[in-house]
Amino acid sequence: MTPQTDASIPSYTLNCRMSQETAALERLCQVVRIRGFRIARMAVESAGDHLDIALTLEGSRPIAMLQSQLEKLHTVVDVALGQGAVVRSRSA
């Protein structure tokens, strides 16, 4: 998908817990990309059998659509959306 060029694109924070497995992060990032979002920030912490991933995402599509697609991943345990969308200026 073509990167967003709009000056004001909604930004979201999304916290995801998924099982430690081969290609876990690639799987997550692939879904984020193909569903139309850009990763602005990503922090990953290993917690035993799980990975806790905090994402800041930008995209103009409904974030609920991405959330439901991530929840379908077999190894995703939980997806929590941060409070409300923030509209950020890309040029700021």
Partner: protein
């Protein structure tokens, strides 16, 4: 048992008796284990893509898990189109590939590819096994995942050393999942009763959920006018008086009209695909929508549902049927309107009375539909012939119509027909294909011959890529580009080279004899049907346009300006 033997053990425990594959270096331990195995029939196709598509056809026709096997590197990459095809149509499939030995992964070893990485977007889930003891549990989990919920392909990539390692873990015993509770349908039933012009819209999710019978019972009890997607063809049954047929880009005028006019759309097991809805802004503009699906991610994805119901389709349909049987809907006027539209705007193709006239695609398919036995399975390829089958063949069951809906994979039909014939040895299986599609997996004629499968092959040959030519004619100012196939091989001679008898027809008066001859023949046979290069599929909605803007033969237009075709 070593890893390879554990795989076969899992097949036995799950009653998987047919797999499609092609051997090679890193998967050789599994093929070695097959030598001593009894109970699993391995079907050797002639290309890995055909292995995956045959497993897909097997799964579609049987409702069971399709299994395909290949080696690492090119074996695995050749599977990709077939696996993507299964993914887009939610077909339950288990894919097993060999991988280079664990210690060589990441060293650019011979026939090494990062198959896990390159297939992430076309699988429901995937594994690279790094511990032989995890193999039994992963096999069990993979088979359950592939078939559970919304089905899909699950890929297990297994390094060669894992296949050879003695596995300490015992075979894994799966636990039965309790059935999910049926959601509350009270409000949905109220909405149905309040609607004056309700319309039933069903798709491939019905057969994926094994809900064919409960859907049929609901369609009959509700007497709702019904439209179907390409993958939903056959859901209502061919004798349902309110079945308006397929909607969408090549749907019937009646089906698209009903969608346009309805005030409630009851969507069951369908995902509102763009080829079905056309431009969403103009889709069902007067309707509220109840969306019932097994996959929560499909609900509200493209259009917000007024009522969303996620759950197991059988239990939902049975509850709806009970409610409407006890108190039927009162929609007689709407039913009458829809039946009138079906009479005047349904698919129709007059049989040509002129015996020497050239054969037209629709007339041929209508004759085929009348002559072929009721339990015939038709595996299509992709293109004009695919749409003529969807429009003019009267299917009575969705598993009788095998078509590549989501991916639109040319070359699907022949291997899918092979898979279907292995799934059902007694039914007639016909591959209806075009000259373009046929050449994409024509090597599988050798597989048909090897196993003496009585598959009937019908090649509708217009000596071009007809669907592309049609869109170039209508939407690109008739500027033909790279669609000419008039140097096709002699298909009759080609079939005979594979020891498959073949027949050529080109006139209307030869249709019946041609069809009857191949159906009567005890074994595989090819019918080469010459059709006009200029025939188009009507009606058509321009890609991206609203379904209201159907173009039919009488309103045929060509735009001079080049426009984007999705």
């Amino acid at each position: 048992m070593n890893g390879a033997q554990h795989i076969l053990d899992a097949f036995h425990r799950h009653h998987i008796s047919t797999v499609f594959g092609y051997p090679g270096g890193c998967i050789m331990p599994l093929y070695d284990a097959l030598v001593d195995d009894v109970g699993v029939e391995h079907v050797l196709c002639r290309h890995e893509q055909a292995c995956a598509l045959a497993a897909d056809g097997f799964a579609r026709a049987s409702g069971k898990l399709g299994v395909c096997i290949a080696t690492s590197g090119p074996g695995a990459t050749n599977l990709i189109t077939g696996v993507a095809n299964a993914h887009r149509d939610s077909i339950p499939m288990l894919v097993i590939t060999g991988q280079v030995p664990s210690g060589l992964i990441g060293t650019d070893a011979f026939q090494e590819t990062d198959v896990l990485g390159m297939t992430l977007g076309i699988v429901k889930h995937s594994y690279l096994i790094d511990d032989a003891d995890s193999l039994p549990a992963i096999m069990e989990e993979a088979m359950a995942l592939a078939q559970g919920g919304r089905p899909g392909p699950v890929w297990i990539d297994i390094p060669k050393d894992v296949l050879l390692t003695e596995v300490a873990a015992a075979p894994f015993a799966a636990t039965e999942q309790p059935p999910s509770a049926c959601p509350d349908l009270t409000d949905a039933i109220h909405m149905l009763r309040a609607a004056r012009k309700p319309l039933l819209y069903s798709g491939g999710g019905i057969s994926l959920a094994h809900a064919e019978d409960s859907f049929r019972a609901f369609a009959e009890a509700s007497a709702l006018p019904a439209v179907v997607t390409l993958k939903g063809i056959g859901n209502p049954g061919k004798h349902n008086p309110y079945n308006l047929g397929m909607l969408g880009m090549h749907g019937s005028r009646a089906a698209n009209k009903a969608v346009d006019e309805c005030d409630l759309l009851l969507v069951i097991g369908a995902r509102l695909d763009d080829r079905a809805t056309g431009n969403l802004a103009g889709f069902a503009p007067n309707a509220k929508m109840i969306h019932i699906d097994a996959d929560a991610a499909e609900i509200n994805k493209l259009r917000t549902a007024d009522m969303a119901i996620r759950g197991e389709l059988n239990s939902i349909l049975e509850r709806l049927t009970d409610a409407l049987e006890s108190k039927p809907l009162t929609i007689a006027d709407w039913q009458k309107h829809c039946r009138t539209w079906h009479t005047t705007g349904g698919f129709s193709a007059a049989d040509n009375e002129e015996p020497l006239a050239p054969i037209t695609g629709p007339a041929f398919i209508r004759q085929l539909s009348r002559i072929a036995p009721d339990d015939t399975i038709v595996a299509c390829d992709v293109g004009q012939h695919q749409m003529w089958v969807a429009q003019h063949y009267e299917f009575d069951h969705p598993r009788h119509h095998l078509t590549s809906g989501g991916l639109g994979t040319m070359g699907f039909g022949l291997p899918a027909a092979i898979g279907a014939q292995f799934a059902d040895h007694s039914s007639t299986v016909i591959n209806v294909t075009g000259d373009g599609s046929f050449m994409m997996n024509a090597q599988e004629l050798a597989t048909i011959r090897r196993y003496n499968l009585p598959v009937k092959l019908i090649v509708m040959d217009n000596q071009c890529l007809g669907m592309v030519r049609q869109q170039q004619e209508l939407f690109y100012g008739n500027r033909e580009s790279q669609i000419n196939l008039d140097d096709n091989p002699d298909f009759v001679a080609m079939a005979r080279a594979f020891d498959i008898p073949a027949l050529h027809i080109e006139r209307t008066d030869q249709i019946r004899r041609g069809i009857e001859t191949i159906l009567a023949y005890d074994g595989p046979m090819l019918l080469h049907v010459a059709i006009s290069r200029e025939d188009n599929v009507w009606p058509i909605v321009k890609p991206g346009a609203s379904n209201r803007e159907m173009i039919d033969e009488t309103r045929r237009t060509s735009t001079a300006n080049k426009e984007h075709v999705a």
